[in-house]
């Protein structure tokens, strides 16, 4: 049974370190043995504006944040205005003594308002920027979390170089915690005393994917910054030298995708990525990958459109685009993982599938996944899970034993041709052409070859479809209500399902990761015993519900959110009734 389920929210201006503070606090909670999920809410600006970071911590796994806040760490008075009405009765507010409490903001609030000289403590013991440290330390004290976890996370951030700064932070933390203890003691009981747990990693899905890409042997990445994909590019760039990758921040997305195609053609695992607007610019390049049959992985992190839309907000509105964009018709795989470990797995699978089919694999994620950190057992990200399948890749030695002239684009029963990258001796001297080409690679306009090429693509698509996995089911095998989700809508829906069942209802959840080619038979079977189907998506048109109907004939109701904000269980339950 869940004993602890606490929600923290840190609010302040952009530039006040709300996001890094939040991420650090989440890590600290995990070190205490708690499961966490933490989500930032931020504007498209660098300084100013109101940002906040919400963390839910529990002794049982949690899947999404909730609407109620137990502990509010208010770095400015705006935070009190914005979030006071979300406060639960059992909690506390941490706020600087000097911060003005806006009129009426906390009227009727029955929790503890911990007013402490946070900025003064920071200045006295180090510097003003350490006010975050003071606030988090005070919060730790109020909820009974071992201060060492907070101090540990913060000081590690300064690494080797930060002796003096780390020490100052430690002082600030201790001083703030001491004063909080003196004035308010421990407010929340039972508190967050250390509990045993296996080692947990706290990470977002972008980094989980990027880590997976490195483990999967990705050696080349090119990209152009665009929220919310940027952190994948930055992670890879940050690890490039240590892990032997070439990572290129290109002149634009068109350059990026075509560089990736060129690298892939050389026989190395290659990827690119973007958000929708940048992906738009890439689709011609993707068709080149299809024509010359190179394996390619693209990470597509969605955000609300059209055009620039809402760059720091979330949406799942690019599914049909991922499937149908780009001219000509050619097979591809679209995966929409839902958790950090699934993003990690998606990376491992994507690079294998891409090579097996010498085709494009799109991993579809979104802004929510890119910034939401979750604690997950570290063992889920073990290098030992990595298996490499390079499909029909040939070595120079292998091609020489073939005993026949090598044909790069040979027609085969499964549509996939043995692949010898260039630079591998005389047999590797061939043309890879974006025009229709013969098995040998030369340009042709022969109608029969055109048919053969289309059939080759069809065969690949059929092979892909056979490999696609059935959706996951969570909850009871049979239920009155089946919630259908894909990608990040899972978390809140999972919470909603648990709540429905806890309240005597009957619901289960079917989560799709393998979206395209939709494994129609497996999907029909997975949904065969269902009664009421409700498809939950963060878009305005119910794209997955459409796909499901188009491919399987099954009809689901749609429960949609499209204000750019993440789904919560509360939102789902409120909208399910209707």
């Amino acid at each position: 049974m869940v004993m602890i389920d606490l929600t923290f929210r840190i609010g302040g201006e952009a530039g006040q370190g709300v996001e890094s503070g939040g991420a650090g606090f989440a890590k600290a909670l995990t070190r205490g043995g708690y499961h966490v999920v933490g989500t930032p809410d931020y504007y498209e600006r660098i300084r100013g504006g109101h940002n906040f970071f919400t963390i839910r911590a529990s002794d049982e796994p949690v899947y999404a944040i909730d609407d109620e806040v137990d502990v509010l760490i208010a770095m400015d008075s705006e935070s009190l205005v914005r979030h006071a009405d979300k406060l639960s009765a059992k909690g506390a507010v941490v706020v600087d003594e000097a911060t003005k409490i806006p009129e009426g903001a906390l009227d009727g609030y029955s929790g503890t308002v911990a007013r402490l000289p946070l900025l003064q403590i920071a200045i006295d013991n180090g510097a003003a920027v350490m006010v975050n440290t003071a606030a988090l330390a005070a919060a730790a004290q109020l909820v009974g979390l071992d201060l060492q976890h907070v101090v540990g996370v913060i000081t590690e951030n300064f690494g080797r170089k930060g002796g003096a700064v780390a020490e100052a932070n430690r002082q600030v933390a201790q001083q703030a915690a001491r004063l909080a203890a003196e004035r308010y003691g421990q407010v929340i009981r039972p508190g967050l005393a250390d509990r045993p747990s296996e080692a947990q990693a706290v990470l977002d899905c972008n980094r989980a994917f990027a880590m997976g890409a490195i483990m999967a042997g990705c050696k080349f990445a090119a990209g152009y910054p665009m929220t919310p994909w940027t952190s994948v590019l930055e992670y890879l760039a940050g690890h490039a030298d240590a892990y032997g990758l070439v990572v290129k921040h290109a002149e634009d997305e068109i350059g990026a995708v075509n560089m990736a195609v060129g690298a892939a053609h050389a026989g190395v695992r290659a990827m690119t990525g973007s958000s929708g607007g940048g992906f738009d610019l890439m689709v011609e390049g993707l068709s080149l990958a299809a024509a010359i049959e190179v394996p390619l992985v693209v990470y597509l992190a969605q955000r609300p459109g059209p055009a620039t839309g809402l760059s720091t907000r979330t949406a799942q509105a690019d599914l049909l685009m991922a499937i149908y964009s780009s001219h000509g018709e050619w097979p591809r795989i679209v995966l929409a993982p839902h958790t950090p470990e699934e993003h990690f797995q998606a990376a491992l699978r994507a690079f294998n599938l891409a090579e097996r089919y010498q085709s494009l694999v799109i991993v579809l994620s979104d802004e929510y996944s890119s910034t939401t950190v979750m604690s997950r057992p570290a063992s889920l990200f073990a290098f030992e899970q990595v298996t490499i399948d390079r499909g029909k890749l040939l070595t120079r030695a292998e091609v020489e034993t073939l005993g026949q002239p090598y044909l790069r684009f040979q027609m085969t029963a499964d549509g996939v041709s043995p692949r010898l990258p260039p630079g591998n001796g005389p047999q590797s001297v061939y043309l890879a052409s974006s025009n229709l080409h013969t098995e040998k690679g030369h340009i042709t306009e022969d109608p029969q070859v055109a048919v053969q090429a289309a059939d080759k693509r069809r065969l690949k698509g059929e092979g892909m479809q056979r490999e696609m996995r059935a959706p996951y089911r969570y909850g009871p095998a049979e239920a009155e209500l089946t919630l259908i989700t894909w990608g990040s809508s899972y978390g809140a829906a999972r919470e909603a399902m648990e709540q429905i069942n806890a309240q005597g209802g009957s619901a289960n959840l079917v989560q799709f990761v393998d979206l395209w080619p939709l494994p129609v038979d497996a999907v029909r079977e997975a949904l065969s015993a269902t009664k009421r189907l409700v498809c939950i998506e963060t878009n305005a048109t119910g794209q997955f519900a459409h796909l499901l109907r188009a491919e399987t004939g099954l009809r689901a109701e749609s429960l949609l959110r499209y204000d750019g904000r993440p789904l919560t269980a509360g939102y789902i339950l409120a909208h399910l009734e209707a």
Binding site: A201, P422, V429
Partner: protein, 292 residues
């Protein structure tokens, strides 16, 4: 050592009889044979256009890409297999029009590519529209009243943006052109060769005689290719009103490291040649620790 024959295949070019691309074709094969590299050691990346079909007609490792994307694909290929020589061969529409942004940024990057542009001042394959290098007033079906834009000056752009090898050739001067290609193949970093190419079907005014009466070799006039401003002065001669087209090496320096020399992962070995997981297992296991 590979011969011209080794770079020949049995595909017959589809170019119009008399097209300048034939000259470039011969110069390329001659330069390749002289270079000592074999067909499996040179990757020829092309775009889309008449002249971009070069690698269909040549026995060589070839990548025939998208209109305008030649340099980007080539950059990716080079970074992944820096052991191979990479040469881009594409038209002025491909290289300077649709591909202008890649051109601009590849120049600055000084990556080890030869960039040979078949500059016929027109779009050949799509049947004769004006190109970025077309003369002002050039009448085509997309410029029936004459082109209004000032012609692009590719060599001036390259010199302005830090290129380390900027040359111009002429499709009919096989000796000079193959020598330029040979030198470019040995250059450290990015090498542009803008080639004056007659198109007999869609740019009849700029025929062989037109070019022949204008081209001259900068080395014949004592040009110092290490002098950037002097190179720029030569570059300004064409396009322009001088009536002269400077050819040869306009600008060159060999003291700037190529991009690929500076990337840690490929300093010692090309990516394509490296084993699958190049680092010790513990390094990969350590990745998750960053998140704990």
């Amino acid at each position: 050592m590979a011969t011209v024959q080794d770079f020949s295949n049995d595909v017959r070019p589809t170019w119009c009889p008399g097209c300048g691309d034939f000259g470039i074709w011969n110069a390329l094969k001659r330069a390749f044979a002289a270079s000592g590299y074999g067909p499996d050691e040179i990757m020829m990346v092309t775009g889309i256009g008449c002249g971009s079909k070069m690698n269909d007609y040549t026995r060589i490792s070839g990548l025939h890409t998208l209109h305008g994307r030649t340099l980007a694909v080539a950059t990716g290929f080079k970074l992944a297999n820096s052991a191979m020589k990479v040469i881009c061969v594409h038209g002025d529409g491909d290289g300077y029009g649709e591909g202008g942004n890649h051109f601009l940024h590849t120049v600055r990057r000084n990556i080890g590519l030869v960039d040979l542009v078949e500059n016929n001042h027109v779009y050949g394959l799509t049947r004769g529209q004006y190109s970025p290098t077309s003369q002002p007033g050039f009448k085509t079906r997309t410029s029936p009243a004459g082109a209004l834009d000032a012609p692009l000056n590719p060599v001036a752009l390259a010199i302005a943006e830090g290129a380390t090898f900027v040359a111009r050739g002429f499709a009919l001067d096989l000796g000079q052109l193959s020598s330029l290609i040979g030198q470019a193949l040995e250059h450290r970093g990015y090498a542009l060769i803008d080639v004056m190419q007659p198109c007999v079907s869609f740019n009849r005014a700029m025929d062989y005689d037109w070019y022949r009466s204008r081209v001259y070799k900068v080395e014949d006039e004592g040009h110092d290719p290490s002098d950037r401003l002097a190179a720029m002065a030569r570059a300004f001669e064409y396009p322009g009103t001088s009536g002269r087209i400077p050819t040869g090496i306009l600008y060159r320096r060999e003291d700037v490291p190529a991009y690929e020399e500076q990337v840690a992962a490929i300093k010692e070995q090309a990516l394509a040649a490296q084993p699958f997981h190049a680092r010790p297992t513990e390094d990969y296991q350590a990745l998750v620790k960053e998140f704990i």
